[in-house]
Structures are given as structure tokens and as C-alpha cells.
């Protein structure tokens, strides 16, 4: 019989190992799943995780998925560091895409790529505004941000549906719920003409470095971390809680909005009813999987991007449903949370062991 025992202090090694354990367990259970569906688990896992990356095209496609994930996840990591449970990256992403798309439709005759600047800025601004709503609701009305941001996600989705079915529908588009194609000048430059990867990947990398610096070296970043770790200490030290909440949410909104507009002005090139395959939600997993550390988040977004490609690949090669992607993403998060236990606790052989309650509140004194 084994028992859990609380470690005197958190294990750093386990903090780094736990995502690897989670990934290994996901592979194991993924293999079992494939086997139970009558497929050779090794071929299936190979198809899911390796095959998509076997050529340069695959790698650039991965980069295309990493860009929005990285942007959303870096913003979310700022919120989660402050324990602001912003689940709204999806809505902020959609609003960014919708706003940027609206702007792009104003420049259908544009010749110069300079139009990208107002388009991108307006997209980011729309994402920011959407996050500002959540910030307002949280700071002014003390409404739970998990619930408000989720609701805002659904509202954003319906706003996009309304737009492509109504005012932004392409008049010459045979009544399909789609906007007109954007002008070529309003499309993000490609890194290489043979592939679909755009400069959006640089936005993501830049966001990563900027937020990394902010968190690790600045007083503002320090305050955000303290707020997340320990509200009472933040108040004790005199940090302005509401200002920090606004800051984290606005940055996240702007980054998610930028991701959204980069998506519609990138690989999509127009407004369509579904511009996000759930990037905003997947980014949540990315943040946890990446240990809220920028480098970890970079690797995690690659892995998460890979699950999208793997899903498409098994659909093509093995005619399994594409939704297997969500299944793998969910499993990863589950196993991660389970293995995270090993950071604060260790498993010992049944011996005199005792586990104290993590924190005992003073009850009624």
C-alpha cells in the first residue's frame, strides 16, 4: 500500500517532469483507445503525432497553429498568474477576428500593405474591448469572471454568426454566410510563398519575449504574481488589485484579438461562421501544460497545435472522427492535473506517514 505524504517544500524537478508524465500517459491511453477501436496503436499514434510533421509543409502548418495558440496562451498566462480565471480568450479571439475582418472589408480596393496596420490594430482593440467588459464586470460588479467570460464567448460567437449572415455577408456570394474575400494587400505576408505560414508567428514569439520580461523583471509583473499567489499579501503590500486585474485582462484581450485578426487576414482570408477551432480554449490547456512559463508555453503550443493536425491526419488516413483532437487535449489536461500532485506531495511506501491539511483556517476565533 502506498501513501501520499506532503513534501516540506515544492519539488522543482516534479514541476518540470509532470507535463512529460502527462504526455506519456496520454500516449499510453491514446494507444489503448486506438487499439480498442481496432487499429494498431503504434501506427495510429505515429499517424497522429509524427506523420503530420514529416515534411516542411507539415512544419509550417504547425507554425500556423502555434501562432494563435501562443498569442492567446501568453495573454492567458498573465491572467492565470494573477489567478484571474479568464476563460474568454475564445471570445476575445473571435471579436478580434470580427473587428479586424470588418476593417479589412472597408479596404477591399486597397493596394498597399499599410492597410494591415489599422486592420491589425482594430482587431487587437476589439479583443481588448471584449476583455475590458470582463474586467469591468469583475472590478465594478464583482461578477465571477469564469462565468462572465464564458458568456461573452457565446455572445461573441453569435455576434460573428449575425455578422456573416447579415451585414457583412458577401452581396455577390450566393447567399453563403461568408464575407467577401479580403484584398491581397489586407492579407498578412507569407514567410515563404510555397507555404501558408504568415508573419503572425513573429507576433507570437514577440509576445512571448515581452511577457516573459514583464513577469520576470518588472515590478508590475511581480505585483501580478503576488496578487495571484496571495491576495491578502497583495493588499498588505498595498498593490492596486483592480488596476492589476484591468491590466492583465486588457493585455490578454489585445493578444487574443491580434491572434483572431491574424487568423482571418492569414490562412482564412475572409470572415466565415467558424474562424476558431477552439484556440481560445486549447490555449488554457497550453498555459497549464507549459507551467505558465514562456518556454514551456511555446513547447505546449507546439504539442497542442500538433493535436489539431493529428486529428486531421487520422481523419484522412484512418477515417476516424476529427474530434479525437478534443479528446487528446482533454486527456492531456487531466493527466497533467493528476501528475501535478507530485509537485506538492510524494508517494511513500506505507510507513508512518501523515499528511497535514494544506492550510487550516482559523475557524471561529
Amino acid at each position: 500500500m502506498f501513501k501520499l505524504e506532503k513534501r516540506p517544500f515544492d519539488s522543482r524537478t516534479m514541476a518540470y517532469c509532470s507535463p512529460l508524465i502527462a504526455f506519456a500517459l496520454t500516449l499510453l491511453f491514446g494507444g489503448i483507445l486506438f487499439a480498442s477501436l481496432g487499429h494498431n496503436p503504434f501506427t495510429a499514434l505515429h499517424t497522429f503525432f509524427i506523420l503530420p510533421l514529416s515534411d516542411a509543409y507539415g512544419l509550417t502548418e504547425l507554425g500556423m497553429k502555434v501562432a494563435p495558440l501562443l498569442l492567446c496562451a501568453m495573454g492567458l498566462s498573465l491572467c492565470f498568474k494573477a489567478k484571474i480565471w479568464n476563460i474568454g480568450a475564445e471570445g476575445q479571439f473571435i471579436m478580434g477576428g470580427l473587428g479586424g475582418g470588418f476593417m479589412a472589408l472597408q479596404f477591399l480596393d486597397a493596394e498597399s500593405s499599410w492597410v494591415l496596420i489599422p486592420i491589425l490594430l482594430f482587431g487587437a482593440l476589439c479583443g481588448l474591448a471584449w476583455a475590458a467588459l470582463a474586467a469591468l464586470l469583475k472590478t465594478k460588479f464583482n461578477a465571477n469572471e469564469i462565468l462572465t467570460t464564458i458568456m461573452l464567448n457565446y455572445i461573441a460567437l453569435n455576434a460573428l454568426l449575425w455578422a456573416v449572415h447579415g451585414p457583412l455577408k458577401d452581396p455577390s456570394g450566393f447567399n453563403f454566410p461568408e464575407s467577401a474575400m479580403f484584398a491581397n494587400a489586407a492579407i498578412l505576408p507569407l514567410l515563404h510563398e510555397d507555404y501558408r505560414l504568415t508573419i503572425a508567428i513573429f507576433f507570437g514569439l514577440f509576445a512571448m519575449v515581452a511577457i516573459w520580461t514583464l513577469i520576470s523583471r518588472s515590478w508590475l509583473g511581480f505585483q501580478i504574481q503576488v496578487l495571484g499567489e496571495d491576495k491578502a499579501a497583495a493588499r498588505y503590500a498595498g498593490f492596486k488589485e483592480n488596476a492589476l486585474i484591468w491590466f492583465a485582462l486588457l493585455v490578454c484581450g489585445a493578444l487574443a484579438g491580434l491572434a483572431g485578426v491574424s487568423e482571418v487576414t492569414g490562412p482564412i482570408g475572409q470572415l466565415i461562421p467558424y474562424i476558431s477551432p477552439g484556440y481560445g480554449y486549447a490555449a488554457i490547456i497550453v498555459v497549464f501544460l507549459g507551467r505558465m512559463h514562456p518556454l514551456g508555453i511555446l513547447f505546449a503550443s507546439m504539442l497542442m497545435g500538433l493535436t489539431y493536425m493529428g486529428g486531421e491526419m487520422v481523419q484522412i488516413e484512418m477515417s476516424l472522427p476529427k474530434s479525437i483532437t478534443g479528446l487528446f487535449q482533454g486527456m492531456l489536461l487531466f493527466f497533467l492535473l493528476a501528475s501535478d500532485l507530485l509537485i506538492g506531495y510524494r508517494i511513500v511506501k506505507k510507513a508512518p506517514a501523515n499528511i497535514e491539511a494544506p492550510t487550516t483556517n482559523r475557524v471561529s476565533a
Partner: protein, 513 residues
């Protein structure tokens, strides 16, 4: 006949031997004291007796039979009752509902009958209770009565009380002792856990003293001097008592006038018409039972809650509406009651915790952190205040209570405050750290800083404070020089009787009960 006999009880926690071969015998009708410093293993031992914690080794004999207690429910069936230091009550339930939860099903079905029994029993032992009241509306003393009555409703043979007097006024303590004596005379054994020697001498028939998880002695408290008991508690190498010179302060540093405050928190205390002056170079002590407005007062002082500007003045500046940061820049520093989770961030390193409240000491450069300066300050604090830790990178939660308190106090003192507020500076701290902390406070006082200390430890207040007062229900008593305040007087102040100074100790209900 022995009611309870423990032999060789041992319990190991990760990194510490909480109980190491402890023997303990309690006879029928005996009031037995279990004495020891914080961390001596008292709490673990009684949790073992009550079945909350299982011992690793040792024998448990109950009324002559060797048994093993499987859990609190089993302990209660045996006739063992326990009153915890931090009450295990449910604040949003009524007194009767709280008691019903601890009784077997057949006794708690009929709530009317139960309510009547609660009234009956509580009156019989002189501690009246209304079964229909919600627990969060009760005073701390009354909550303790609920805990005791809960035990008395069953067929009680051994009542364990964990530091029961730490939340009571001196008058309430007297009444509790009367109840306990009555219980003992009816044949109930009582295990009384404390670290206050005078109480033990007054109440108990026998005492077992624990130190570092081991029994360091037995004695008859009436026959042995308190000095000898104290030696058994703390060992030979620790100074027992220090007397500090009392001083008169200089210029007024902190001036609180007409402070009124009503928190949004339904469980909080209202501050009423509070006046208070603290002079530079003195320590003002504020006594009081927990929950009488200490926490609210401290938050108002620190700026975690704000009020109108002129209610609080620091060195002739209105600061009532300033943020904590602004107050710190004017020379205010604060050691809060909660060390982990307010004074320090548990999961962050000591280095980061150094920065927490000291950013205004030039540790920033245009919003960027100057890590070299933070490190230097952190190292300085660790050294000067003898903080035992695995270095600056150690998480705050890995430190012992005493070491963390030394760290926090050091961090605040190193800001050279003109006014330092300190909540329960040595609560739950080992003697060595407590001595260092008191010395540091006195030293800061002698450098001319004004210091406010809030504490439930009356001995400590008498020891280090130059002037004393008490807080009750958000009101503050008169303030007098320490040597002019008798312990009876302070007790009256703690119950809200601020007027009659010369009247004898009052027997009527304290005002707030």
C-alpha cells in the same frame, strides 16, 4: 482507578518527532494539566487520545482495558469529549444544529427535546445558552460554551480542553474554572492543556510536562514552584524572563481621533469612536479577546482599509485615506497576525518576499526590479535576525513559524519605521525566537520609533509595553502606564467596563456576552 493510561505513545511527522514515547495517566475525577511550549507535542497527544490522529506506537488503556481508538466518533462513544482551541463549530448553523451533529442519531432526531436538554445542561453547569441562536452571532466565550455543552450532553468521562483560556477574559476564566471543578467533583476526569502556569497552579491536581515530544517531568502543581515547572517546559539553556525598563515616550507619532468604521463583512466588528495616541519611543499594548475589533483596527492603520483622512494622523499628516504604499513611504511598517498568507507569500522565495513590502527602499529602477539590491537586503535580514532557512531561495512556507516571524519583523524594522504596528508578535513562536523578537522591538523603541502591539498574551504585554489599554467590541479603554494597570483592571477593560476603576472584580455578566 485510572481512567486513561498511555504508555510509550509515539508519532512521527515528516521531519519531526511529535510524540516520542509519551506516558500519561489520568485518574477518575482528576484535573490533569498537560504543559508545554508551542510545538512540544501537546496538540498531537490529545488528537491521539481523541482519535483524530493515529499513533505509530504505544499502548492506550481506557478504564483498565487496552484499546485502540478508531476515530472521534469512537472516542465519543467511550465518553471522551474534546474542546478544540480553534473551535470546530459551524458558524451558519444554530447552536442546537451544531450539537446535533456530534450526537448519535437517536439523540438528535427530536430537535425540541434536544433544545430542552441543552438549556437544562448548560444552566446546571452555569453557562447558559440559547439553542436557537446562530453560532456566528455568539461571542467567543459563548462559542466555547457550545463546545463544552456539546461534550457534556453525552455520558462524559474525560473532557479534554486545549488552551481553553486563551480566548477568555480573566473573569470568564474564573467562571470556566468553577464549571470544571464542579464537573470533576461529579467524577469526570479533565485533561487541561495550557502553557500558563498560574492557571495550572490554581486549577489542576497533577501535571505532566512535555518538551520536544518527550515527557520532561511530572509534578503536583501546588507543591512545586512555577519556576521549576517553567524549567521543565523550556529546558536549561533558555532565558525565562526578561524585564525591560519602562519608559515615557516623547512626541506623539500616531494620533487616532473619532475613528468609526463599519465593515461590509457581516462577521466583522464595528469600530466605534476610537481615540488613541502613541508617542515616539514607547510601546503601546492593546489587550483584548480575539474578534473585538483588533483586526479591523490594524487594517485601518495599515491602509488595507481606508477612512476619512483626518481620523488617523501620522506625525501631523492626515493619512486616514492613504494607501498602504503611501503610508509606508511616510514611515509606517506593519507585522500582521497572519504570517503565511498576508505577511509573506507562502509559495514565493524569501528574496521575493523581501521585495514584497520594501520596494520603496530603492529596490526599483523605473519599474524594473534591481535584483542585486533585493538580494543584499534579503541576506542582511537573514543574518541580522538569525533567520534559519535554506537561503534566500527557500519558499516562505518552508520556514518554521518563529523563523518566518523573525524574517517578517526584520523586513519591517529594516525599513526604519517611525511607527510599527505589530499583531500577535510571538503567537505560536518558540521561546528563543520570542526573546529575539521582543529584544528587537525594544531596540526599535529605544531608537525613537512608536510601536503598537496587539496581543492576546497578557504576560507579554506586561513585559514589553510602556502603556496598556484594551479593546472590546470596537471600543478602546482608557490608556495607562503599564505599572498602573492591575490585571483585574485589564480584565474589566477587556469585557468593556471602562469606567469603574476601584470597584472589586465584578461578578455580573460581562457587557458583551
Amino acid at each position: 482507578m485510572n481512567r486513561l493510561a498511555l504508555t510509550g505513545i509515539s508519532k512521527q511527522y515528516p521531519g519531526c518527532m511529535a510524540n516520542d514515547g509519551v506516558d500519561l495517566t489520568v485518574k477518575q475525577g482528576e484535573i490533569h494539566a498537560l504543559l508545554g511550549e508551542n510545538g512540544a507535542g501537546k496538540s498531537t497527544l490529545m488528537k491521539i487520545i481523541y482519535g483524530v490522529v493515529k499513533p505509530d506506537a504505544g499502548q492506550f488503556e481506557w478504564e483498565g482495558e487496552s484499546i485502540s481508538v478508531s476515530g472521534p466518533a469512537h472516542a465519543r462513544r467511550l465518553g471522551i469529549g474534546m474542546v478544540f482551541q480553534h473551535f470546530s463549530l459551524f458558524e451558519t448553523l444554530t447552536v442546537a444544529e451544531n450539537i446535533a451533529l456530534s450526537l448519535p442519531k437517536d439523540q438528535s432526531q427530536d430537535m425540541t427535546a434536544l433544545s430542552n436538554r441543552i438549556r437544562e445542561v448548560s444552566e446546571h453547569y452555569g453557562m447558559a445558552l440559547d439553542p436557537q441562536r446562530f453560532v456566528h452571532t455568539l461571542s467567543v466565550g459563548e462559542q466555547q460554551r457550545v463546545e463544552i455543552v456539546r461534550c457534556l450532553l453525552q455520558d462524559i468521562k474525560l473532557l479534554i480542553l486545549d488552551e481553553p483560556t486563551s480566548v477568555l477574559t480573566p473573569q470568564e476564566v474564573k467562571r470556566l474554572f468553577a464549571t470544571l471543578n464542579k464537573l470533576a467533583s461529579e467524577g469526570c476526569s479533565i485533561l487541561f492543556i495550557s502553557h500558563k502556569l498560574d492557571e495550572v497552579t490554581e486549577l489542576c491536581h497533577n501535571a505532566t510536562i512535555l518538551r520536544g515530544g518527550k515527557v520532561s517531568g511530572h509534578c503536583d502543581p501546588q507543591a512545586v514552584s512555577s519556576h521549576d515547572i517553567a524549567r521543565m517546559m523550556v529546558g536549561d539553556d533558555t532565558p525565562l524572563n526578561q524585564d525591560f525598563q519602562k519608559v515615557e515616550g516623547g512626541k506623539v507619532v500616531l494620533d487616532i481621533a473619532d475613528l468609526n468604521y463599519q465593515s461590509e463583512d457581516p462577521f466583522a466588528c464595528t469600530i466605534k469612536q476610537l481615540h488613541l495616541k502613541v508617542k515616539g519611543g514607547e510601546i503601546l499594548g492593546i489587550a483584548g479577546v480575539a474578534g473585538n475589533g483588533q483586526d479591523e483596527l490594524m487594517r485601518l492603520l495599515s491602509g488595507e482599509e481606508t477612512t476619512s483622512a483626518d481620523c488617523i494622523r501620522l506625525l501631523d499628516k492626515n493619512i486616514g485615506d492613504l494607501s498602504p504604499t503611501a503610508r509606508r513611504q511616510l514611515g509606517f511598517a506593519f507585522v500582521p497576525e497572519e504570517r503565511l498568507g498576508r505577511g509573506a507569500v507562502p509559495d514565493m522565495s524569501l528574496e521575493q518576499n523581501t521585495l514584497l513590502s520594501s520596494a520603496h527602499l530603492g529596490l526599483l529602477n523605473k519599474g524594473w526590479i534591481r535584483f542585486d539590491k533585493v538580494k543584499a537586503l534579503g541576506e542582511h535580514i537573514l543574518q541580522k535576525y538569525k533567520v534559519k532557512s535554506a537561503g534566500l531561495q527557500a519558499q516562505a512556507k518552508s520556514l518554521s513559524g518563529g523563523n518566518l516571524q523573525k524574517f517578517i519583523l526584520g523586513r519591517e524594522i529594516e525599513q526604519n519605521p517611525k511607527l510599527l504596528a505589530c499583531s500577535h508578535p510571538t503567537w505560536g513562536v518558540d521561546i528563543g525566537a520570542a526573546v529575539l523578537i521582543r529584544h528587537a522591538l525594544i531596540e526599535l523603541r529605544d531608537q525613537g520609533a512608536a510601536i503598537v502591539v496587539i496581543s492576546e498574551d497578557i504576560d507579554e504585554l506586561y513585559q514589553i509595553c510602556d502603556r496598556l489599554c484594551a479593546i472590546c467590541q470596537g471600543e478602546i479603554s482608557p490608556i495607562k502606564a503599564t505599572q498602573d494597570v492591575s490585571i483585574e483592571q485589564l480584565g474589566q477593560w477587556m469585557t468593556g467596563q471602562f469606567k469603574d476603576v476601584t470597584e472589586p472584580a465584578v461578578t455580573s455578566e460581562p457587557a458583551y456576552v
